[in-house]
């Protein structure tokens, strides 16, 4: 699936959970949300994104290792 | 529901004036009647847009305002003619044949009560006792009361009016 679409969604989730100030806990929350609502092929496609991709927010980079 | 989505408020000056009249009075309880009187005093009649304007001003519906306007014959919904002819419909006059007179005058002018002749010269209104019962049946043309009326006398009066000498 289109990586940009998934990056945008993941970034948006991270942004909306930004009230959690602890970066570790926040990454856990984002990963939890994604596991709860995303279909496997979406998760796979997100995992296929290069962690150095400029559009990935730092939180989502941390999420990639948790999925 | 036709007026569901209001158009841009291109407000006529009439509407604006009614709104101002309402603004002065709307705080008092039962404001509708005093406002309607003020409107009629200002314009000489109650313009058609009054129901809509007062409905929004007083949080009522158009129908409610209209119901009140139409309930009181006092409120005129069209400008009166140049002259107003009142026919008395109360008991004394009735007993002296005012009903027939009424019918004849209506026919003569070709209008009903609360209407104005096509040329705008005369408005016909009913009235209940003019305090001149001894000379029934009575009519009043503008400010003058005329007793023991007949159709012929009315015709003459109106003729004089036309010639500008009544």
């Amino acid at each position: 699936m289109n990586a940009e679409y998934l990056i945008k969604m993941a970034n948006q989730i991270a942004l909306n959970l930004a009230y959690e100030q602890d970066p570790e806990r926040r990454a856990d929350m984002v990963a939890g949300h994604i596991r709860k609502f995303w279909e496997p092929r979406m998760i796979e496609a997100l995992l296929a994104v290069d962690p150095a991709h400029p559009d990935l927010s730092p939180c989502v980079v941390a999420v990639l290792t948790r999925l | 529901m036709a007026a569901h989505i209001p158009l841009a408020p291109v407000e006529s000056s009439t509407e604006a004036r009614i709104r101002t009249l309402a603004g002065d009075l709307k705080q008092q309880p039962g404001a509708l009647l005093p406002i309607l009187h003020a409107v009629q005093d200002t314009f000489g009649y109650v313009p058609e847009c009054t129901a809509a304007v007062l409905a929004t001003e007083l949080a009522l519906s158009r129908a409610e305002v209209h119901g009140v306007i139409s309930f009181y014959h006092h409120f005129r919904t069209r400008p009166a003619g140049a002259h107003v002819l009142h026919i008395c419909r109360a008991e004394a006059c009735q007993s002296m044949g005012s009903a027939a007179l009424e019918r004849d005058i209506k026919q003569l002018l070709n209008i009903d009560y609360h209407q104005t002749t096509a040329d705008g010269s005369v408005t016909l209104e009913p009235v209940y006792c003019l305090g001149n019962c001894a000379c029934s049946p009575n009519i009043r043309l503008d400010d003058a009361v005329h007793g023991r009326m007949t159709l012929a006398k009315t015709e003459r009066l109106l003729q004089l009016l036309k010639e500008g000498q009544a």
């Binding site: - | 989505i5 209001p6 158009r62 209209h66």
Partner: protein, 952 residues
Amino acid sequence: MIGYFDPKTDRDLGTPASLSTSLITLEIDGEQVQVPEGTSVMRAAALAGINIPKLCATDSLKSFGSCRVCLVEIEGRRGYPASCTTPVSEGMVVRTESPRINKLRKNVMELYISDHPLDCLTCPSNGNCELQDMVGVVGLREVRYGLSVSNHLHLPKDTSNPYFTFDPSKCILCSRCVRACEETQGTFALTINSRGFDSKISAGANESFMDSECVSCGACVQACPTATLSENTVIEFGQAEHSVITTCAYCGVGCSFKAEMKGNQVVNMVPYKDGKANRGHACVKGRFAFGYATHQDRITQPMIRDRIDQPWRTVSWDEAFQFAASRIRQIQAQYGTNSVGAITSSRCTNEETYLVQKLVRAAFGNNNVDTCARVCHSPTGYGLKMTLGESAGTQDFDSVEHTDVVMVIGANPTDAHPVFGSRLKKRLRQGARLIVVDPRQIDLLKGPHYQADHHLQLRPGTNVAFINAMAHTIISEGLEHSDFIAQRCDQAAYQQWLSFISDSRHSPEATEAITGIPATELRAAARLYAQGGNSAIYYGLGVTEHSQGSTMVTGIANLAMLTGNFGRPGVGVNPLRGQNNVQGSCDMGSFPHELPGYRHVSDSSVRQLFEQAWQVSLADQPGLRIPNMFEAAIAGSFKALYCQGEDIAQSDPNTQHVEAALGSLECLIVQDIFLNETAKYAHVLLPGATFLEKNGTFTNAERRIARVRKAMPPLAGKEDWQVTQGLAAALGYTMTYQHPSEIMDEIARLTPSFQGVSYARLDELGSIQWPCNDEHPLGTPVMHEDSFTIGQGQFIPTEFVPTEERVNGRYPLLLTTGRILSQYNVGAQTRRTANVAWHAEDVLELHPHDAEERGINDGDWVGISSRAGQTVLRARVSSRMQPGVVYTTFHHPFSGANVITTDNSDWATNCPEYKVTAVQAEKVTEISKWQERFRHLDSYQRQLLSESQAEA
């Protein structure tokens, strides 16, 4: 089988029930009668089985006492008091009949009849006329006065309304219509014009019904005891010979109706008095707009084709099922199990929705099922589940009668939920206070005899900043309900939230620049909400259809917990659901991550339960949501879709993107009553059945499960659940339901909150609000009474993250979308009825200032473009909008409102952001490119359809 169900309890008792609990004993015609204090003598007699003659009284309206046929004798009282206006008193002795009374009544009736046309035999009300009945009851045998010279028989009829006729010659001036419009509907469109002999019922200021304020709800028609106000269908076809109690299939109010029938033909839809959602009221859609059911455009035979540029081939049901099933299996073989999915409809019944998700999970073998609720109320599910533990509104509609402060956020109840709107307005007239939070000036703001206290006219897209400012104000001014928070809410979560919300960036002074709401106004509204007594929040799509929809729902729940507004009548958080069965379709497991009853697919114990019942093994990972399906389709990994009763091509945002997705499917199965926009991309067309043609249940916005009863056979021979069952069988998965009641039994067995629900129970109770189980055998009108479903209420911080959709030089205006009273959703049904008399096209509303700047006049064609696309609509210059904000509806496909909406969506649920799109508007002379293509495709596909029908 057609299950006739008419409990015949809707007798007219003359005056409304008294709510008093103290009882009064009196004697009527020698019988001892005990009734609540405040009951009228008329009602007391009716309860004792004695029907006192009446004309101006009816039990849906306050008594009025004008006709005088109901007079009685009361011992110790002089004269003959009217029984409808006389309350009972202890020890009262009443006589309802005597020669003297009868004589007086006869005199009254004689006067009425002397000015009444005597054409009873050919009158549309013949067989259902209270005037006729009363004449019969009093035994009037002659009319002495003859018809006088001056009578009302010459008065002209008003036929301006497409659904009912006003024939003033038959009017007895009982004013029941006037009072119905006032008390029941709250529009006050009728009055008595003039007085005395000249009195006449008038709509508006002596206007035609159509030109007046009338919203065509039909309450006056129902209240009229004579033929003066009659439904045109009754005038045309005559009185019904039987009736079926069922539920409206339009909006989330879920009004109960009596479908009045002649054989298989509906002649009238009358709101059912014992319906607990609507209490005998209805709106123009449910009451009158049922003609679509027999419209010539109905699809009546299954059809198939290999490619979408081919003409349709009419086939048998079996052939259609085989064709569809073999394509699905072939696609799965080629592209994998997860390459197919389905969309359930919020318009179909619970049972049908349940079957579709069962088909996906059991026969497709994946979780790729979603519902159109995705695009409207999915954030409600998320927000309420996270904070309170249950994805549903907390109250029943009756609750509003106990509300002191109503806060309406992003909802337009007088248009979208009209019957609830009327009930709300009634409460407002009684003095409840009103806060409206909406970018637009909605009708609810001001009406006859009430006015909103606050209109917080915020900028579209800033809801969360607003709700945070409300909570901040309540905290900073010490107005929170500490006891409630201490007893009912999770303390750790509360503390975390408290430190979040106390930050001064959430103060109304700080958010003013974002929301545009003056801080003083917001503070005043917050105080009113926190201190005004029972405060209730009602919200709609203006809350959910944003990129922060889920956050906003969470914020609403936080606010209500903060002020202790849960767990009793009059308070709560109430989502106003768009379509009739949004609640139900969500309850039935239509979401790709949840099995019925909102239980996550990863929960192995729940899965086991269903695996045993369904005899299959179930996938344990979430499936694709609708927008994800589109993405996957474009990416090539999603190839087949079964779409039941849902027009995604018109209703989903960014039409061109949706069209591209649909165009790349190898098998699209559409089940619908018409050739909808989606069907133009379909390979299999399965005819659907309307709500009149099937059995089932709907669940309305207050969690009320109500029966849908079959009134006529399905046009194409199958109810929708039978179609799904047929498709499942062709896929090799057998389901053997004989009747939807068996499906409900299975749901009840597998879902704790439905445990006590069955068709027998529904017949007995009329309707049931879930949860219904051993603990709540009669259902649950008010939820979270002693504790939240989740246990301790969870406060969750709600960070305001502005949408990416911002105005700029190129797109300087914000477009927001909504709906209007006479049309429903994509309009497939209402556009095929006389409702088009009110809304023939979608228009773009814009503020005079914005219009002037662009040289746009009322009625001009305007091109609206966004980064997603362009369309052309007619302009309506209106000061309802704030400058900079434009508005449109999406009831007509050609308008292409969704061509301009973008694919931005809610962060948590992917609910599209319909409510905010940055656009430009300019005067144009021709339709847009998309519209040209639409026109072309539309006529092409219609041609393909008619070719097949000619062949058949």
